[in-house]
Subunit: 341 residues, 2 copies
């Protein structure tokens, strides 16, 4: 059943049926009701492609996953983020297109998306410092919103980010209040903007309390369980080991806990640790008191809100850029306690 068939069936023109369904004023309420009923009865759905061709808008939003190599890590927050974004898209009548592209062809991919009219807008994920994609997309003329921020870029853009600096500063502060002085940072790759900010927050909080950041207590890497374990093990073996850890993700934290327990120490008593928690659904907690003290911010919610943000960019490109800075909650769990001694 297409528009033509539906309109002959109703004894109306395609124009009228189309305008009735799309809520235009120049069709009487009586005919509109008739059209609506018929459309429902025959489960009529306008052909997306034809609609897109006629309107010049595809109602599709693209997410690009740059592929570094065949073995590169896929971001574990991806699934939850997508789910959140997808919820908003469904509500707003958009579809989500995901494109896995080789990092060398990323620029070409964006251009092609625009040229081919594949998407109306984009989500930019995992921004790096001085991320070139922002200028690129502005040049191409494709609306977008960034998940995170790109330090070093001076042009305006829309973004949504967690206040990583403040979150890690607060967490550091909290540990200092508990009497800790040797606090380690198990960070993500600091080429990533979020990791860079986390270290800033950590160092600022230390300095504000008169503690000099110690390079021997800072590590950065891709946030796997194994990395958390190795980094912690190594630090605990130092002559003057840390009594507390600040960890960049729960997956990593699982490794940190393991190393601590293997060393014969008890987490939350002998050693404290705070992790950032994206509230990934497959790592969720269910007890009343969470296992880990954490700076918590739902990445699924971030997906929902960021999706709304791109849609706004598409609808009103002339509007000023939006910025949303989500404050992470500091949730007290059982992995922190007063510094020993």
């Amino acid at each position: 059943m297409n528009l033509k068939q539906l309109s002959t069936l109703l004894g109306l023109s395609q124009t009228t049926v189309s305008r009735a369904l799309n809520g235009y004023a120049d069709v009487s309420e009586a005919t509109r009701a008739r059209v609506r009923a018929a459309a429902k009865a025959h489960d009529y759905r306008p052909n997306t492609r034809a609609q897109a061709l006629a309107t010049g808008r595809s109602r599709v939003i693209g997410h690009v996953i740059p592929k570094v190599s065949t073995h590169a890590m896929v971001n574990p927050i991806f699934a939850d983020f997508i789910t959140g974004a997808g919820e908003t898209y469904s509500q707003c009548g958009y579809e989500m297109l995901i494109s896995v592209v080789d990092v060398a062809e990323e620029e070409a991919a964006y251009r092609a998306m625009k040229r081919r009219g594949l998407v109306d807008g984009l989500i930019v994920s995992a921004p790096r410092m001085n991320d070139p994609r922002i200028e690129l997309l502005d040049g191409i003329g494709l609306p977008y919103a960034v998940h995170g921020r790109a330090t070093g870029t001076d042009r305006p853009y829309s973004w949504l980010d967690v206040n990583n600096r403040r979150a890690f500063a607060r967490a550091t502060d909290f540990l200092i209040d508990l009497g800790h002085r040797r606090i380690a940072l198990i960070n993500g790759l600091e080429a990533m903007d979020f990791a860079h900010r986390r270290r800033q927050g950590y160092e600022e909080a230390l300095r504000a309390r008169g503690i000099a950041p110690d390079p021997a207590l800072m590590q950065q890497d891709e946030m796997t369980e194994g990395y958390g374990w190795r980094a912690t093990r190594k630090m605990l073996a130092q002559p003057d080991p840390p009594t507390a850890f600040l960890v960049s993700s729960v997956i990593c934290m699982l490794g940190v806990r393991r190393a601590i327990e293997e060393a014969g120490l008890t987490l939350g008593r002998d050693v404290s640790a705070i992790t950032h928690d994206d509230q990934l659904s497959y790592l969720r907690e269910d007890g009343p008191v969470p296992t880990f003290t954490a700076t918590r911010s739902s990445v699924r919610e971030a997906g929902q809100r960021l999706a709304r943000m791109v849609i706004d960019r598409i609808d009103t490109p002339e509007a000023p850029h939006a910025h949303e800075l989500l404050e992470a909650e500091l949730i007290i769990g059982r992995s922190t306690g007063p510094a020993p001694g």
Copy 2:
């Protein structure tokens, strides 16, 4: 730059330019070369929507994520699977569309996808026992391929699956060979087909060696770290505790290991454990000898191959259904050893 502009620029008709670019024979090699060169020079890309409208094919494949509730778990294998599928799609000139739909509206969503001409085919994920989607999609007339199998369905369909039964049978066998008799199964939800098959393999292997499966040693739930920990803790507290564990996912395994170590036991010496390993990139290992003994099968590779399978269904719907049964490797790591005593 669109086709019309390109063709006037070349002094040719749209027909000729189109057919030159699409490799038809009725255009001389000389003009084809000219057209190609011009297209490249102006970075001409055919408009996807127009192409789709004209051909009746969208070159898009849909992945549906059914959403149970706002807090339901998002499948952790999702990201790696998508990445694999996306790689194949890129190679074959397809796009991937992901749709998050409320489980109550799943059927309507499939119908709408067909009606609106949104996708040419679908990937069906996480099949349950007697999964109704297979009959539904056959009825709708949308090509698809299933990631896993749906026990209880008698109609033919294309699928790709890991040989879960054999993998868990082999793992069980291996543990029995090591002298274990009390072997626990920490399974996923057995409404899921893969979990059902894993239990079959486990029980068959036990019976074949004269060991009666003990319901007290079997658990099923959503595979979180917390679940692994709780289930293991509980079982270790039993009067006649298991000496070995069969675990359905690495995330779960992390919890199992924690419970074992908390009980003062050493994994691989006092207690053995084997997990299934989907080779998720963010849980990967890098050492020469893996931490966990595991039945290993890359879910990313599954994504790649399954994508190819749907594309084949779309290209040749009359071809017989394809079936691919991937055998998991049994990788010996450091989490298994001879039964104590």
